[in-house]
Symmetry: C2
Subunit: 116 residues, 2 copies
Amino acid sequence: MPKALPVIDATAPVCCAPVAAAPMGEDAAIEVAVRLKALADPVRLRLMSMLLAADEVCTCDLAPAVGLTEATVSHHLGQLRKAGFVSGERRGMNVFYRAHREALGAVVRVLDPDCC
Amino acid sequence: MPKALPVIDATAPVCCAPVAAAPMGEDAAIEVAVRLKALADPVRLRLMSMLLAADEVCTCDLAPAVGLTEATVSHHLGQLRKAGFVSGERRGMNVFYRAHREALGAVVRVLDPDCC
DNA sequence: CCAGGTGTTTGACATACGTCAAGGAGGTGC
DNA sequence: GCACCTCCTTGACGTATGTCAAACACCTGG
């Protein structure tokens, strides 16, 4: 994966469904696949889910919630951050993560076969 | 992946966004992750894209279109089929694949944070 | 400054994944 | 039946991924 990640085109004018609309080019496919890979893991889905529901959570609360080491959770959060789905901010002793709804929405729109 | 794949709950009454609505359980996360994994590959995304756009295509046309061996394309189609996104039917000498829009739509609805 | 809690990075390991070549299974046409 | 096409399966290979323990970085509170 030597590709840069422009944090997805949340502001793109496309309404939706490049996937269903026409055969994707290879580059576009890689762009989307990288995001989907970031989501395609049970642990990361649960982390996203918690962050979407709770707005802001620190690693120390996320790790026990998924039953894994903080190191592992940190790794997963890094994947999500690289894909633009979350961002973390250090405040005091903790670092608080929050989900980016628009980024998730953008991926969903690209994939949705029923839109438009 | 020892889990059975019930070809996704296309008829489920849920309108959407179990991911954003509440913290997912581990089993639900696995269910969704398995589907996403099936989509999270550039080659498979392009295959889905072609099938969605063309309604029915045989392996012999798909393989050159993505520039890979027929063996490899067959493998990818198998992944997509196991996840319920496509199905293939042998007719004469060829086997024709078609995409299942509803299956893709179901995954999208589960993920969509803007719906509802 | 030092002790202790919180997060990330690194190294190591097992497993899963993507790819192809080779061989087999199913169908057609002579 | 036999040559031939299309497709799938198997075996093998390298790479990527998920996990943890250990070590490092950052902050807070005495």
